[in-house]
Amino acid sequence: MNIKTLQHCGLVVRDLERSRWFYGTVLGMQEVPRPANFTFGGAWFQGGDSQLHLILASDTTAPAGFVDAGPAKHTGLATHLAFEVQDLAAVQTTLARHDIAILGGPMLRGDGAEQIYLHDPDGYLLEFYHWTDRRAQDAPERGAIHA
């Protein structure tokens, strides 16, 4: 097997309009058409080469959102989706304008990436990162999280 890429993530969401606002308006992802044979509620979004496939919770038996990770969500030690962006500060400004709280960061990962964590409206843990020239020794130790 030769995996080429993680092309999309499917997310079950409770409120399609709320998620359209978050992924489309706030994050600026492009909504793209779904196949015509998809008659259940949902929406697809494109950002770079990746897609998000939103699935309306009331049209499926699957629950929406990740389980809240507790303190570990602040440093990303939990199931999460990561988006690479050009400029993390611009993302933070946009998030602040929409009153969306940052759960962790900005912090260095140790390989030059600087990252933040936040929740989407359904409680999915999202990471945003950009590449910096900051050295590994500037990055804090990332240790185990205990409640």
Binding site: T75, A89, L95, G104, R142
Partner: protein, 398 residues
Amino acid sequence: MMGSRPRTVVMGGSLGGLTAALTLRDAGCEVEVYERSRTPLVGQGAGIVLHPVTVRYFTENAILDISRASVTARWVRYMGRAGDIIDEKRCPYRFSSFNALYQGLLDCFDADRYHLGEAIVSFEQDDDGVNIQCASGRNERADLLVCADGIRSTARRRLQPDAALEYAGYIAWRGTVDEAELGSNLFSFLRDAITYHIMPDGHFLTYPIPVVDGASGLVHPCINWLWYRNIPKGPELDDLVTDRDGVAREASVSPGMVQERHRAQLLADAAALLPPPLAEVTRDTARPFIQLIFDCAVSRMAFGRVCLIGDAAFVARPHAAAGSAKAAEDAWKLSEAIKEANGDVVTALRSWEAGQLLLGQQVLARTREAGRRFQDGTWPVGAALSFGLYTVGDSTMS
């Protein structure tokens, strides 16, 4: 003694954070300091013009003899193009160094409450407290979080993401030289003065700073120098801040990391443009380094139980010599407000904020104006220096 002992976390263990930690501890708070660096901080030869509040902790507690952590000079001098003295007045200032002040403050604080290698990556507050998460996995709950995490504050970026660092349009080449490197004639000439040279497009200054010998504890003076040069944003600046490893640095290029061809260009420019004694100072400095000059203003410093102090709030250009004084003043006023409010953190921060915002705005406005005149050639030779915290001249310490 206050009714309650607010549990306090200080984010950042540099001069401002340590002053906050000490004054809040003495005011009755239970204080822990989290510093992201894994090793004790070392200033890169940075000189500090003292202000009474910068050393207020030492003087009020009679802990450290200021004369052992600072040096004086007799003259404020302006030097002409030929190296001649064109103006000379008595100097009412004392000069110290980051390392001397940091070590002095650190020695006053409880070693087991000063935590190195702890980077706070998240804080969330509710009605009763602040939850604080460190990258290391450590989490804490506090009544008060004081963010003193410096020029590139992550706390500021979380709380005021629109308050960006604005590049001022110039950089400082800087360094330190000792007597052996400089030769005793030039050394003793510069040792006794703060010396300015005003150019059409920048300025150069030198002043003595104390260097504390780690082994003997003896203080011997060095000459600290800065050459402020206008460099607009663009390819020239991008190239200059690219270090030996090809990494483009955002705020400074450390000693030893400046590219050799940039140092060579510096020395060539110094020979062509500076008075001969200052060109020699530049040439005799083995490891000059580069600092970019920034402005930054916030619109708030108090956020419920969380506050920004010092450079984490306002970043001002160095011309008032007020950076460390402003941080210390923010810290002292904070501890006084906490005492005044009998440990009620939210009330204390609310009453503290207005005066510190005003102070930050004033220092910023004053240093912007001084910087403009120093960098466009309109600073009058012989003019009194712009040093001061609340007003010019209040940092006199003879």
